[in-house]
Symmetry: C2
């Protein structure tokens, strides 16, 4: 009897979902590469004809490149792309046969991963994390000898902010309320404008927050997101994965990667004329891969543009602590828009922050947050719902996000050592940036803009025609050809400009400024020697 | 000059992306609710007419429920839905006005979050995490007094597995190789069949792994995923977010939530006849919300079914440590398929595991992995690429995942205390399950299947017609009506069966077995009294 009911109702339910589906299909078709019927047919064939032959196949044939989500197939992420795979292979070679290559170590300058290159974590932050992971040692006498007093005190404060002091429990979907209070206070102190803990969504690094916003805004290929070119490939990858259209706007290399609002307008109009609904504008400040820091006047123009056009301003501000030139200062877009008198009613603004960058560089902890303002309660509820589906971000990352927004203060036991560590890292990064920038500008046919901020240089290379032809001969982009040669001959890993986008016909690569200072001379000499050899080989 | 170039090439690039888009649009339309033209039009209107009026609006109008991704709008996640929001409001009321409600605390039985209800973490695991967060104390003398010797030793081992001992660095996109080696060894020891570290993808809990597979497999609404009903709503939510179709198969309550392969076949055929391409079968074992543990014979039938039909078997095995009855044992689907002689060439199999469940219950650490077998190298590359876009999962979660798959062994200093903690938690969970199961079966019109495993009971309630009418009168599902009344009168939070799916016309709720043992009597008496009052009020 029950079986009967269950089967019947099962078909009912199934039928409902199909009705619903069929209705949907009436006004929009789906995303198969081939027409649906043929695709379904081939599925039927495969699924009925597969079983007998499957055992003889090298791998189960039910999933192939022809039948996976084409959005996945389309998306690219150069920062961990082909060159990095080659680097990993070379590293294994070095382990198996030391001395078999013209270099003794791989220098990963492809990704902003400071601690992988020897940067040490901030002691205070790690003390607090360690204590929160194992609170039962907090009141042991030995702990006093191992941890600073303010780390112990901060750990107690944080534990008291966690319901039941349960550091192993799922938190509120937006993150632990007490930690969001701390972060909001940190934002308010930074900007001089209030911040609301209910606007904070803690996430596993900034990337999931970016995906969440793309998922919210992108309905189809007819929805566009304005992105800088060159851009951090997370944005192009996320737009591809969510099936939207990247609407590019070019940063102007001639003016130090300046952002011209006139070019934003041109691109917006061009997109509209193609029937694209532009939903949002991505701005990365300080810039990745370009390293420029936007001026306040420029930021005001951008805010005004987004407000007028009704675009969501997606502000990637994960490098807010990474500014290396005295003449530039970081201003958050929230501060700028509020100082223009614009509030909740005027502009939808999302600011992304991460524990992976700055002077802390805690990439492996996967902590970060987004601050969202200007969204209606109904839309915020939808963002909350999406956050809830993944339950919450990791608690250690949440704690770390609160620490970077509220580091030791004057008078705290750790204050001096904290300042020493912070300044040591930031001043060293500034020196490394300058040294590499100068070295690059000394190379024949290479021009590199000033590294004002972030963790990267994005030099332009004028490649000889012979090199371009040699690249074409092996079906490689000329910049990828150059980077592969650089890796094979020196062990230095950089990312071809084509992975970030560049003015067609120009060639660049992205190089981090993160190798430790004692390694910089080696990087410079290896790079210089290689570049000279390369140019000698291909100079016309 | 450069500006000119950049603008020109910019338009070129834009043009390319649109060409590409236009081609796509030729054979498939997009997912707007309204026809594209009108939608674009309304966008043009809004974006041109918005600026002037925006300041007068309560919130920036550029993002509304009408123009966000309809997939987001559609998705639901009951475990953190309406009832939980009500519970949070009541909790605030209790804080502001203690004594204002008929109960003095909220008992969250809505979600498998053991440590939020007082379960203590496994000491050894937390010791290792704490040491890995702050390695500089590893060789301090005080550390010997605070941490067990094997925790210190394990921390050293793990640090040596991390390149440069950099616990703050991004790892390999699949997770730290040494930790994947440990996990693969743990799987091999569990199953008696080899496991390959390159098949392991470490993730922030199991949820992102499930999303990754849905993203890979679902191309459109014409792609279906076979899911159990009742199911854990992560699956319906993920299928909705990725735009696929959930193809339900009913678990049979009459046979203790048994899984009938005949019903799988019926549903698969029904789906095919509707033009749905079924890509995968989701099996949750031990079951959530149903708590049943599959028999090996049943598992073999499921493996055979997936192999024959060319379906990916998505095995949710996060409750593998949560089995409470002597007559049942957990067998992984990998072990079952290998013991049937099926290998890489025969079946695509994905096993999900998490640090959030089991006896460890470390939900907040967001650790987990998926083991994928049977996929071609090309497809695996695509999965790797998607994993790379988010760089890596959090390192503490990665370490914890390796610890749960390789806990202390006989002879280790922590072994006895570890076993004591583990057995204490599991035997207590078994007692709590039995007590609650009996209590529920004592209630008028309630029948509850045996809690064989997992962390939940899913009792069926025969609601009086008067109660159903009363629910309809307030536009509520009868089970949601019952659960809201239960919460308002007792502070006990459970999730209505409608959030998981149930045979139409039957009503259930999901209740975790996680309240600490000293609270169980209160839960039972509160629930019993409430139920009696409820039935007295509505009995015909």
């Amino acid at each position: 009897m029950r079986k009967f009911v269950s089967d019947k109702s099962c078909r009912k339910l199934l039928h409902r979902s199909f009705q619903n589906l069929t209705q949907k299909l009436q006004h929009h078709n789906h995303q198969h590469k081939a027409p649906p019927s043929s695709v379904s047919q081939s599925r039927f064939l495969s699924s009925s004809s597969m079983a007998p032959c499957s055992s003889s196949n090298p791998s189960a044939p039910s999933v192939t490149l022809d039948n996976i989500n084409p959005k996945v197939l389309k998306c690219e992420y150069a920062v961990r792309g082909e060159i990095v795979t080659l680097a990993q292979r070379l590293q294994q070679e070095l382990q198996v046969k030391p001395g078999s290559l013209p270099f003794d170590e791989i220098l990963y300058c492809n990704i902003g991963n400071p601690q992988s290159l020897g940067q040490q974590p901030i002691t205070f932050f790690r003390e607090v994390l360690s204590l929160c992971d194992h609170p039962s040692i907090l009141d042991k006498s030995e702990t006093q000898g191992l941890f600073s007093a303010d780390a112990i005190e901060r750990a107690w404060q944080i534990l008291d902010q966690i319901p039941g002091r349960a550091t192993g429990a799922y938190s509120h979907s937006q993150g632990i309320k007490g930690l969001r209070d701390t972060i909001a206070a940190g934002i308010a102190a930074r900007d001089g404008f209030p911040a609301d803990p209910n606007d904070i969504f803690l996430t596993d690094g900034a990337s999931p927050a970016v995906h969440m916003m793309m998922q919210l805004l992108i309905r189809s290929e007819k929805d566009g997101i304005l992105c800088p070119i060159p851009q951090y490939p997370l944005y192009s990858a996320s737009i591809d994965l969510h099936g939207g259209t990247l609407v590019p706007y070019y940063l102007d290399e001639a003016t130090g990667w300046g952002l011209e609002v006139s070019s934003l307008k041109k691109q917006l109009e061009a997109a509209k004329s193609q029937g694209i609904t532009v939903r949002a504008l991505v701005v990365i400040n300080p810039g990745n891969p370009t390293g420029q820091v936007l001026g306040e006047k420029n930021q005001r123009e951008i805010v005004e543009f987004c407000r007028k056009e009704g675009l969501v301003l997606l502000a990637d501000e994960v490098y807010q602590e990474n500014v290396y030139v005295p003449e530039k200062t970081f201003h958050s877009f929230k501060k700028v828009s509020r100082s223009m008198g614009y509030g909740e009613a005027d502009i939808c603004l999302v600011s992304f922050q991460s524990v992976s960058k700055g002077y802390y560089g805690e990439c492996g902890k996967r902590g970060g947050y987004m601050e969202i303002t200007g969204f209606s309660p109904e839309v915020r509820e939808q963002i909350y719902k999406v956050a809830s589906v993944n339950l919450c971000s990791n608690i250690s990352g949440q704690i770390l996000a609160s620490l970077v927004m509220s580091p030791p203060k004057v008078g705290d036991e750790s204050y001096d050592s904290y300042c020493g560590e912070k300044e040591g890292i930031l001043s060293s990064l500034a020196r490394r940036a300058k040294t590499l920038e100068d070295a690059l500008n000394n190379l024949e046919g290479v021009s590199c803009n000033k590294a004002e901020g972030a963790m990267y240089l994005f030099p332009r290379i004028e490649l000889p025609l012979k090199a371009i032809k040699a690249a074409e001969a092996v079906n490689s982009a000329p910049d990828a050809f150059y980077c592969r040669r650089l890796l094979n001959e020196t062990g230095i890993v950089v990312v071809p400009g084509s992975g970030f986008g560049q003015v067609p016909g120009t060639w660049h690569f992205r190089c981090t400024i993160l190798p430790q200072e004692d390694k910089i001379p080696a990087v410079v000499s290896r790079l210089t020697d290689f570049h000279k050899r390369f140019m000698d080989e291909f100079r016309g």
